[in-house]
């Protein structure tokens, strides 16, 4: 973490009518770092993710992305074509619901290959080889490469979505509750997988979750949000073991011990 931050946001504010969804939020994420955003429902976690990834324009504040050449790009002023290019090359977005991130009518191989084809891969054999390699990597039986995602279980769909996102080797991945809606054993496997991939590929990940355990397992740093504000941030273990803000204390105390 010696270089400049990969993504930097300052003074983000956004109101939905009378509701402040984001209130003067600033954050930075460095290459190879996993940052988790935790908080209860409605605290502005997902809105923050959408603003950071350029899907939503903030009322105030700006987001700057540093591309591989070191140029600082303003995310909200770069134009739609540039943002789309970013979205399918340097960035990835893993949705909570795999149905939002996958094409359900396209085979698993086609799903993984889509980003490759979008950036200009035109060799069927190599696209397919890459898809097979990625299916193996996310622990999906390569024999199912031509099956439709709707025949997959929830956990497999989520892993397929991860493979599809990571195939172009992005530098920054946004994950919106990737383990939501999965049962605990599948969650554990998925978290394991994400942790291994992140370490392998040196990804920077911005993870939104309400699952404190997932955050502890994956994240280097933690931001706690409430009512659109970041009430506490720091190293994951520090924040969870020694919460300073009363809301963080409540959040940590509410985790059920198995």
């Amino acid at each position: 973490m010696t270089e400049a931050p990969l993504l930097e946001a300052s003074g983000l504010s956004l109101r939905f009518g009378a509701v402040p969804a984001l209130d003067d939020v600033s954050l930075a994420i460095w290459p190879g770092e996993v940052v988790a955003i935790v908080g209860e429902s409605g605290s502005g976690k997902t809105t923050l993710l959408r603003v950071l990834s350029g899907l939503l324009r903030p009322d105030a504040g700006q987001v700057t992305y540093r591309d591989p050449e070191g140029a600082a790009l303003p995310v909200h002023d770069m134009g739609e074509a540039a943002l789309r290019r970013l979205m399918r090359t340097d960035w990835g977005f893993v949705h909570q619901n795999p149905r939002d991130g996958l094409r359900m009518g396209v085979s698993a191989g086609g799903n993984v290959g889509e980003r490759l084809m979008a950036v200009g891969a035109r060799h069927y054999g190599s696209i397919r080889a890459e898809a097979l390699a990625w299916l193996e990597r996310v622990e999906i039986d390569p024999a199912r490469i031509d099956d439709l995602p709707r025949t997959f279980s929830g956990g497999m769909q989520q892993r397929l979505q991860i493979a599809r996102t990571l195939v172009t080797r992005p530098r920054l991945v946004f994950m919106d509750e990737p383990t939501g809606g999965l049962d605990v054993s599948v969650q554990a496997r998925l978290l394991d997988l994400i942790r291994a991939l992140v370490a392998d590929l040196g990804l920077a990940v911005l993870l939104v979750t309400h699952d404190i355990a997932a955050a502890r397992l994956l994240a280097h740093r933690l931001l706690v949000m409430r009512h659109g504000q970041v009430v506490e941030q720091g190293l994951t273990d520090r924040v969870l073991d020694d919460p300073q803000h009363e809301y963080t204390q409540l959040l940590v105390a509410s985790v059920l011990a198995a």
Binding site: R88, V106, S107, E114, M117, V119, R122, H123, I127, D146
Partner: protein
């Protein structure tokens, strides 16, 4: 022949023709880009060539010679009625010979005889949007065209190869026009796609129900999409025409009786007739 009284020349009123010509100019200026236009009610049902007939009506002049084909044939209902329609409301000369026509309105074929400069080929298009089976939102397809974001079309081709071992699109095979716009070539067989590439004639496309016009100007590169290791192959029935013996033309399969008898004949009737006439001349000499 003169035009029927009571109708404006070529049926459409002058303001409508002007509106369509403006759309055509725009379409020619941006090859492959779909230009919206105010499609009119025409005296034939949607799907019978309302788009093509409006384009023809806007560009036809008293000195033009019109040829109309339907699936390559001059003598099918659709071709006969549209040809008679223009003979009646515009009083223009009509022909069945490809080389004599200045305007050729076509449904689902490109004539076998190579077209030359100065000729205009007008296509009837049922669905102008090449992405419509893949992306149901029209607003989104427009955005994809604007950003040249065509990865999705290749996903479809990938799926075909994964499922069938080859690209299983036999007609309306998607093309890239001038390296920029993805275009539906109307439901012509993939066999005809190579003819569109750098064609000396002007190609105009009219979709009446969908209210879109697009164009390929003369000598514009038109490339069929494919993969490097699965190149585009024009498909043709492996047979010779039963009437003229051609092994180059696109063939129709015709059932001749109820005992499994079938023959292949040229789909382009004019091409087939000319070849037969030439063969008879050769035999007589």
């Amino acid at each position: 022949m003169t035009a029927a009284a009571g109708y404006n020349f070529a049926y459409l009123d002058e303001n409508t023709k002007r509106m369509i010509r403006r759309a055509l100019l725009k379409a020619v200026a941006i090859p492959g880009h779909q230009v919206p236009f105010g499609s009119r009610e025409m005296p034939l049902p949607y799907g019978w060539g309302t788009g093509g007939i409006q384009v023809t009506a806007s560009i036809i002049g008293p000195d033009d010679t019109l040829k109309v084909i339907d699936q390559g044939a001059d003598d099918t209902t659709n071709a006969v009625s549209i040809r008679r329609f223009f003979a009646r409301v515009a009083g223009v000369a009509t022909t069945e010979r490809t080389s004599e026509a200045s305007i050729i309105q076509t449904r689902h074929r490109i004539p076998e005889t190579p077209l030359r400069e100065g000729q205009i080929l007008v296509y009837q298009v049922p669905m102008p949007e090449p992405l419509f089976r893949l992306e149901p939102r029209v607003a989104e397809t427009k955005r994809m065209h604007a950003l040249a974001d065509y990865g999705l079309m290749h996903v479809k081709l990938y799926e075909d190869i994964a499922r069938h071992g080859h690209i299983a699109i036999s007609y309306n095979y998607p093309v890239m026009v001038n390296g920029r716009y993805l275009m539906a070539p109307s439901p012509i067989p993939a066999f005809d796609n190579p003819k569109m590439d750098r064609m000396p004639a002007l190609q105009l496309f009219g979709a009446g129900r969908e209210k879109r016009i697009y164009a390929v100007p003369p000598y514009t590169p038109v490339r069929s999409l494919d993969f490097e290791d699965h190149p585009f192959v024009p498909i043709r029935a492996d047979a010779a025409c039963a009437l003229c013996g051609s092994r180059e033309s696109y063939l129709d399969e015709v059932v001749t009786d109820d005992r499994g008898g079938r023959i292949f004949v040229c789909s382009d009737t004019d091409y087939c007739r000319e070849r037969q006439a030439a063969q008879r001349r050769d035999a007589a000499e």
